[in-house]
Amino acid sequence: MMSGGAANFLEVGRMDELARLDSPVHRLDARAQAITTIVFILVVMSFPRYAVSALMPLFVYPVALIAAGNLPVGVLLRKLAVAAPFALFVGIFNPLLDHHVVTRVGSFPVTGGWLSFFSIMVRFLLTVSAALILVSCTGINRLCAGMERMGMPRVFAIQILFLYRYFFVVGDEGLRMKRSVEIRCAGSRKLGFRVYGHLIGQLLLRAMDRAQRIYRAMVARGFDGEIRLMEPTRAGWREAVFVGGWTALFLATRIWNVADGLGGWLTRSGL
């Protein structure tokens, strides 16, 4: 019955709790934050494959939002760590495949493979942290409602909403099953493939049942597919400044290599 343990493990509540904080960032309209995040991700993705130093100035965005939004860095880092293996696998073969030397750090030759690998990791850090910050500053309900207002088809908005809710439902069921397996396999870790097959099948069925019951509870209280919110969404000059300012900054970093430029300026002026 208790879902507390599992919820803590996945920290589902943490993201929702963060979304309820009050800060200048949290008070912004969800649409403004969504647009800025999308622009940010597009800009990060548009950099050439060997870009590393040119990406660095973009860290100002997540850092500024974490500071202004009073977000706990530890929680976000833990979530990044959960997703990191995926990025690692995407980039890990680059150093093996691309031996072409692009630059040198001191006397060390740096191959294109390593450079593109680091580039992938930096992009991963930037984009995933931006997405996490977006959810922790708006909350999934406000975010989906905002996206719908911007013209995203309602079906998609609801899909995202349920995907987010049910992700934790599945995790919850999975954790309970893990517990019951641990209790009965008495310390031995050798479970055959067949057992895992059954477990995964069970997990799917259970999660579907539970999702069904939650959906039923929503319908019972008049849910008809429209996400309704207490505070009306409104966008004013704050939102315009937020979107405009950040977009200008992102584009500037994309056009000029700020890090190189700054370095060059510092060495030239003899500092």
Partner: protein, 247 residues
């Protein structure tokens, strides 16, 4: 106010796997009545409850709530007048905070922010949980969860309250609070439960189901006091009725 009548006529339902869960159930519950639906596991209680707010549609027979006969078209209206409290509050509480959860129903009717706030707080105060408004539901105790789940339904101002095992997982004090709370409601109440002592305390009338049929429908003291009948349907005569002698 006769429009809060719940009337079920010859209701039958079979699940896709062929299990006949209900085989011709009929009863009529009038305004303000508090009725317990009892029966062993698999007797058809949950299936019956799922028909009362239009989650399942009758295969045969008719379910009438107030002025509406249950169909796909009338289901939204029926749901507005029937408040359903689920067995597991974790299924019912899905919003980030207690307040959001209680406000979910009123928001869906399209009320203004002020009215939503008013209704949600009134419902929370009714169950004594107003102080928890900002808390995330999954951090509450079982008793608090149950009370908040009831508030989520009360905020929709239903005429009929349907509850599935409301006292399950509650400690004795939580259960006592629940009983006192249910006693104060003036809604038509339909409670499916195995907690027969709770039935004795708050429900003057009982409907006994077995094998998808109504086996008995009448005064609680008579049905629950009939030891042979109770045993026949996988139940027991509650302890509190053992030493009572009807004259």
């Amino acid at each position: 106010m006769s429009h809060h009548v719940v009337e079920v006529k010859d209701l039958a339902f079979a699940y896709p796997d062929g299990t006949e869960a209900l085989r011709g159930v009929s009863f009529r519950i009038t305004h303000g009545e508090c009725v317990a639906v009892i029966g062993g596991n698999g007797a058809g209680k949950s299936t019956l409850l799922q028909h009362l707010n239009g989650y399942l549609m009758p295969e045969r027979g008719d379910v009438r709530v107030g002025d509406f006969s249950l169909t796909r078209e009338t289901a939204p209206m029926v749901r507005r007048s029937v408040g359903m409290v689920f067995q597991d509050p974790d299924d019912q509480l899905f919003m980030p905070t207690v307040f959001d959860d209680v406000a979910f129903g009123p928001l869906n009717i399209g009320l203004s922010a002020g009215e939503v706030e008013e209704r949600a707080m009134a419902a929370l105060e009714r169950v004594g949980m107003a102080h928890l408004r900002g808390r995330p539901p999954y951090k509450l105790s079982a008793g608090e969860k149950r009370a908040v789940a009831i508030a989520t339904v009360l905020s929709g101002l239903p005429d009929v309250l349907v509850m599935d095992e409301p006292s399950s997982n509650l400690d004795p004090r939580g259960r006592r609070r629940l009983i006192e709370l249910l006693r104060t409601f003036e809604h038509t109440r339909i409670i499916a439960t195995h907690d027969l002592e709770l039935v004795v305390e708050i429900c003057p009338r009982v409907i006994l189901l077995d094998h998808g049929q109504v086996m008995a429908d009448g005064a609680t003291v008579e049905i629950l006091g009939d030891e042979a009948l109770m045993l026949r349907h996988g139940l027991e005569k509650p302890h509190s009725l053992r030493h009572r002698h009807p004259h």
